[in-house]
Amino acid sequence: MKGVIFNVLEELVIEQCGIATWNEILESQPVEGVYTSGESYPDEELFALVGCTSTKTNIPIEKLIGIFGERLFEGLATRYPSFIEAESSLKGFLISVHAVIHMEVRKLYENPNLPDFAYEEGEDTLLMRYSSPRKLCLLAEGLIRGAAHHYNTAISIDHPVCMHKGSDHCDLIIRFL
């Protein structure tokens, strides 16, 4: 997992609970806590920090991952504004994630372990088929909500097929309201 994800988690925790809480979370884990955006760190380290944050804040982990996803979109949008500026609509942006954004990430980093997205466009829906060994579909949902907020677009997300229910992919159906 890229350091930038850790950086945004740090921002979220500091904003909501203060810097002391973030220091306590880091101290409770066998981690150095120094994260550079372009560097890769073990996935387990992020999961452990998110788990610890959930315990500290009493927010259930699933809910916390969703909140983190929304905040992650904001963090990434601030750092890489060109991808947002290139697309004028939420739908266009979501479609550009796989072919444009992930492609650009691959140019910068070797083996970035990106999730796969396949798309099916409906009249007022967009199916995003998510597959990744990390099974972070809830984070993806949060990111989509963060994007919808940014584009000021009302949506609902259905998640009828899920890797956590034994499927090999997740279907995220975004309905544009």
Partner: protein, 315 residues
């Protein structure tokens, strides 16, 4: 307490400033990485292009050197070949005279005095004249055949090494392709699926017989390449593009390795079994197309097939 508060605030302000500096540093790093990536991509493309051009240049130089060598060899061999051929023709005539005399001697030997006849028969036996008489015609015809082969090789070498335009007429290249296909009809029918997309092209000043030889060589090679394919297909197309006539002859045959591709236009290079190919077909094709100020390009992938592209300028 005010001082500690102030100190704490000072650290917070410094922390936030450092954080902004870090974000900026990371942004610069990523933008430089992206620049580096794009530059490295462009460099890679240029390098690949340069390598291709260098390979093409080396190939052209090699073939030009071989052309000079071939022309020199052809010239040097041609002179002795001319008098050897002429002498053999004379020898065949001379032999005929000798044979007539020997036959006459044999005929009259019965009328010779005994001692003379005995000497004559002894001489005939000692010199093995009967065997010589039997063997000589075969030796002569084998020699003539050998000389014919040498003459063909020399002719092929000169075709490869040609450097002068000869017998040019304003001709329709597509009609040349069509007549070559007709010529090969019995060879191709029932054995390959021939797909034609022959767009009309402007007539150009060319030696159509020579170009037909190129088409013939390429189509025959394509046919041989597809022999082991379950669905052998040869596609031939013609079109005009950027003041050039572009002819493509493709097959779905066995294809060629990089090592083979490097050598295919070299005289006497062949992948066929000994005695099956002269190794001159593509060398001659190359010579003819160069002589027409054209280009012959090969693209091939092992197990997939081969495409020969011929480009001829429209004057």
């Amino acid at each position: 307490m005010m001082p500690s508060n102030t100190e704490e605030n000072a650290y917070k302000i410094a922390y936030e400033r450092e954080k902004r500096a870090r974000l900026k540093a990371e942004e610069i790093l990523e933008s430089k990485s992206r620049e580096l990536f794009l530059k490295s991509e462009r460099l890679k493309e240029s390098y690949d292009l340069l390598q291709k051009q260098q390979a093409a240049m080396l190939q052209n130089e090699k073939l030009a050197t071989l052309g000079t060598l071939a022309a020199g060899m052809a010239h040097e061999i041609n002179n002795p070949l001319a008098f050897v051929t002429s002498n053999i023709e004379s020898l065949i005539k001379y032999h005929h005279s000798y044979a007539t005399v020997i036959a006459f001697m044999k005929e009259i030997s019965g009328t010779m005095p005994d001692d003379l006849r005995t000497d004559y028969e002894k001489l005939v036996e000692e010199e093995d004249l009967e065997y010589i008489e039997e063997d000589l015609p075969e030796l002569m015809s084998d020699t003539v055949e050998g000389l014919t082969r040498v003459r063909d090789i020399v002719k092929n070498l000169r075709s490869f090494a040609r450097s002068q335009s000869s017998d040019r007429d304003l001709s329709d290249v597509v009609s040349g392709i069509e007549s070559t296909i007709k010529l090969l009809n019995s060879e191709l029918k029932n054995s390959v699926d021939l797909k034609l997309d022959l767009q009309p092209v402007p007539s150009i000043s060319c030696n159509l017989n020579e170009l037909n030889q190129v088409f013939l060589n390429l189509i025959i090679n394509a046919k041989h390449a597809t022999e082991k394919q379950p669905k052998p297909t040869i596609s031939i197309s013609s079109q005009t593009s950027n003041s050039e006539i572009v002819i493509e002859i493709s097959d779905n045959g066995c294809g060629m390795s990089e090592d083979v591709i490097k050598e295919i236009f070299v005289p006497f290079y062949t992948t066929k079994a000994t005695g099956k190919g002269t190794g001159m077909g593509l060398a001659i094709a190359y010579g003819i197309i160069k002589d027409h100020n054209g280009e012959i390009i090969v693209n091939s992938e092992e197990g997939q097939g081969t495409t020969f592209t011929i480009k001829l300028p429209i004057e």
